[in-house]
């Protein structure tokens, strides 16, 4: 089987497993609930079809009329009388209670902890690989800081077809920077922190194998972290409608060993284009 198929794609990030766990658990529960409900439903449809001479049975709305006394065992604890007298209505809420208990367990033991880990914690430390992502209609640019670990500044007035992110090449911090179009390279088993920006409209960074998706709002910095666990080439897709060529806005992420990654970076740095800083970009068009 390849990376993609009829069901979930290959899981290739550190948190993909816990997301898949939730997806399978919920679908198993859904199928179970649907099968039970469905069986009961069909049984009712067959059993209570209209037959000549058989009238419908009305339910008794008051389970226990007030003149009948409630057993002692029930009147002892608080609300016991009330519960006993409405036990029929309560019985019909049993499916609801079961589903609610399941949902509460999901929230407390699964959703909040995993969500907090994926979306609320921004990883830090010297081991973290930093990449800036700049999205535009209809392409992704990936900006690496290089050995000095400093990103060169970006200026919107420098944006040009030869310099899509508007990198200020005159700034010393940018001299060892590398900018790639539609191609992201990450070392395997290292936490990567992407700081994502958009130049124009809302885009959404989606890598199905990483099970990660995050909208990128223009005017804001959107952090996203991922720890790839499998080497290979995976697809980057834009998941938020961004215009007429939204379907064509794609890229690739190459997950490599650290050595391969370093070698690739050196080769890119050697091929770095000269600083392109036209004084008035509009004249160039």
């Amino acid at each position: 089987m390849g990376t993609y198929g009829w069901s979930l794609p290959v899981a290739a990030s550190s948190y993909a497993g816990s997301i898949d766990f939730g997806i399978w658990l919920i679908h198993a529960a859904m199928l179970g609930i649907f099968a039970l409900w469905g069986a009961f439903f069909v049984y009712l449809l067959v059993k209570y079809r209209a037959r000549p001479g058989v009238a419908a049975e009305r339910e008794d709305h008051e389970d226990t009329p007030s003149h009948i006394s409630v057993p002692d065992s029930f009147s002892k604890f608080p609300f016991g009388q009330l519960l006993y007298r409405n036990k029929g209505a309560l019985k019909s809420l049993v499916p609801d209670m079961i589903i609610m208990a399941f949902e509460i367990a999901l929230i407390v033991f699964y959703a909040i902890p995993v969500w907090s880990k994926i979306k609320m914690v921004v990883p830090e430390g010297p081991e973290v690989v930093h990449v800036q992502l700049i999205a535009e209609q209809f392409a992704w640019s990936f900006h690496y800081a290089g050995p000095d670990k400093k990103f060169g500044p970006r200026r919107s007035e420098l944006v040009h077809f030869s310099n899509p992110i508007g990198l200020d090449r005159s700034d010393p911090a940018s001299h060892d920077d590398v900018v790639m179009g539609n191609e992201l390279r990450l070392p395997v088993n290292k936490v990567a922190l992407l700081k994502m920006y958009s130049k124009d409209v809302i885009h959404s960074f989606f890598v199905p194998e990483f099970r990660i998706k995050q909208d990128i709002l223009p005017g804001m910095e959107m952090p996203l972290w991922v720890e790839p666990t499998k080497t290979g080439k995976f697809e980057i897709a834009c998941a938020q409608l961004c215009g007429f060529a939204h379907a064509l806005m794609r890229g690739d992420v190459y997950v490599q060993t650290q050595e391969e990654f370093d070698a690739w970076y050196k080769s890119r740095l050697a091929a770095n284009p000269a600083a392109a800083t036209p004084t008035n970009p509009s004249e160039e068009f």
Binding site: Y4, L44, R58, E59, L106, Y110, K213, D215
Partner: protein, 577 residues
């Protein structure tokens, strides 16, 4: 606005225009809404069939009609990305705002609610007429945007800025939305006042049929949820027309050009305002159909509904809670991730009353003597199919699993199961149920059975594949799904879905024929053909202007079926003994 309760007794002759076009009679307005919204549903469906062709066979010319489109829309008959996006945005907008809401509220609410509470008309008949006469031009305005330079709106029915500010077509969309929202607000106020003030003597709130409660809660939702969207739409209009920056951030560079506006706005503001309407809107789409299903089930099981009060209170609870869940559409939008936890919890809470409603409706079958007529088949199909819609909402409402499933076809499958196999199935059932009241004639049963089975099976065949595609990670809103590798293994599901959509279209033909043929030539029927208990069956079919011969008096609850010791198995609310 004064209302003469005995007006029907001494009416001057109405001209054709007063009687059928600019009518103030809630029944005529209801039928106007019915026909118009079915017409818009067909148009929305037609747009979708064009899109489905492109999704199944991207790059192939649209057969038969492809070459009729201009070269901008479909060069050589092949759909362009712009045209696909316009069709997508308009399909969503038309189906929601011009199709299902006007059908569930405008048509059924208008016709049935005053009859069920024993009122001679709506509280404000002229306002009622105005509501329709804003809806129709609003809808025509929306459709005419296809003829504008640049075409119709292309930013999805959600119209997220900045895309919606820079894309063509959006101005018409916004203007039309303002008109449509105004129409809905007038309707909502009318429904509330009618329900509160115009009930017949004896019709206490707890004697109202579930359908009336559903309409009442819906009207509250419309009244409270629509104004924020109307305001938000006007702000977006300002951004487009006067270059303000409510939603536009600083320093945008669009296709290489700096954006001229001052910036400083926030795109997320629109999303919050939009979903603050659009989530309650989901319940506006669903509650009236639930009311219809409850009516049909009570009537055809020949027994009272199980848990009438639970049903009503659950609807009220849904109404209240629906204002607290909107941001579950925005888990990965970039809003604070801790907000996600809050909306996760409220979303799980709102599932409780929804499950309670379904449970009550299923338990209502127990002990019944079920008549399998056409409306009942539709009402019964609603239960499991709406159930699928509800269940598939679970992994989307859960923050963690939504990271993967958000904006995939799973979402499309989920909400179409809710709105199509849920709402539309129930609304179709309602036509068969109330048709005898509207026209004094019955619809043909055999055509009804063909319509029912064809419709439900093809609907499932359209939407089931979408769930599978979504699991594989296929995104929504791609005009060419084959442009991305990960969509390729599931592309064959798109073809299944497309053929099923065309089958669905074919199975609507018996319905359309049945509707218009039965209107004039159907079997004549009596006042109360279903042997029902509620008030709309206590007046002639069709009811005259003013509805009731004399103001009805209500003696009991809405579903007194199979009362022991009575000769008939139904005891109408108006029967004195």
């Amino acid at each position: 606005m004064s209302q003469d309760p005995h007006g029907h007794a001494h009416h001057p002759e109405l001209t054709f225009w007063e009687k059928y076009v600019f009518s103030v009679d809630h029944k005529v307005i209801g039928l106007q809404y019915l026909i118009t919204s079915f017409f818009f549903l067909l148009i929305g469906f037609g747009l979708m069939m064009l899109m489905r062709w492109q999704l199944a066979f991207p790059g192939r010319a649209i057969p038969l009609i492809g070459h009729m489109f201009s070269a901008d829309l479909a060069p050589n008959g092949v759909m362009s990305g712009e045209f696909y996006n316009a069709l997508g945005a308009m399909h969503g907008t038309i189906m929601v705002f011009l199709g299902i809401v006007p059908l569930g509220v405008g048509a059924y609410g208008n016709y049935v609610l005053p009859l069920q509470i024993g009122a001679p008309d709506m509280a404000f008949p002229r306002m009622n007429m105005m509501s329709y006469w804003l809806y129709l031009p609003g809808g025509i305005l929306m459709l005419s945007s296809f003829l504008m330079p640049g075409g119709a709106a292309q930013s999805g029915w959600t119209s997220y800025p900045p895309l919606s500010i820079i894309n063509p077509g959006q101005t018409m969309w916004l203007l039309s939305m303002v008109v449509l929202i105004t129409s809905s607000l007038l309707g909502a106020i009318n429904f509330l006042v009618t329900t509160i003030n115009m009930r017949a003597p004896g019709m206490s709130l707890w004697r109202m049929p579930v359908f009336c409660w559903a309409q009442f809660v819906t009207a509250v939702l419309l009244l409270l949820a629509f104004p924020p969207l109307e305001a938000a739409s006007i702000l977006q209009l300002m951004d487009r027309v006067f270059h303000t920056s409510f939603y536009m951030p600083k320093d945008l560079v669009i296709l290489g050009q700096a954006y001229a506006g001052s910036g400083g706005g926030q795109p997320l503001l629109w999303q919050h305002l939009f979903w603050f309407l659009a989530h309650p809107e989901v319940y506006v789409l669903v509650l009236p159909p639930m009311g219809i299903v409850a009516e049909i089930i009570a009537n055809n099981t020949r027994k009272p509904l199980h848990g009438y009060k639970t049903l009503v209170l659950s609807m009220v609870a849904i109404g209240v809670m629906s204002f607290m869940v909107w941001a579950h559409h925005m888990f990965i939008s970039g809003m604070s991730a801790s907000l996600g936890n809050f909306f996760l919890v409220t979303t799980m809470i709102i599932s409780v009353p929804s499950v309670a409603i379904l449970t009550c409706l299923i338990f209502s079958l127990k002990g019944g003597s079920i008549r399998y007529n056409v409306p009942m088949l539709f009402a019964l199909a609603f239960l499991p199919l709406f159930g699928i819609g509800g269940l598939t909402g679970l992994p989307l409402g859960l923050t963690v699993t939504d990271i993967y499933l958000h904006d995939t076809y799973y979402v499309i499958g989920h909400f179409h199961f809710v709105v199509v196999t849920g709402s539309i199935i129930a609304l179709l059932g309602g036509v068969y149920h109330w048709f005898p009241k509207w026209y004094g004639r019955k619809m043909n049963d055999r055509l009804g059975y063909i319509h029912f089975w064809g419709t439900t099976i093809s609907m499932c065949a359209i939407f089931m594949p979408m769930l599978f595609m979504g699991m594989a990670g296929a995104q929504r809103r791609l005009y060419d799904p084959t442009a991305q590798l990960h969509n390729l293994p599931v592309q064959s599901w798109n073809i299944v879905s497309t053929y099923a959509a065309y089958a669905l279209a074919l199975f609507q033909l018996p319905f359309i024929y049945n509707f218009f043929h039965s209107m004039w030539f159907g079997e004549k029927t009596v006042e109360n053909p279903w042997k029902a208990t509620t008030l709309e069956w206590a007046c002639p079919s069709p009811p005259p202007h003013g509805n009731f011969e004399k103001t009805p008096k209500v003696h009991r609850g809405p579903y007194e079926y199979s009362v022991v010791g009575r000769k008939t198995d139904y005891w109408m609310q108006t029967d004195a003994s």
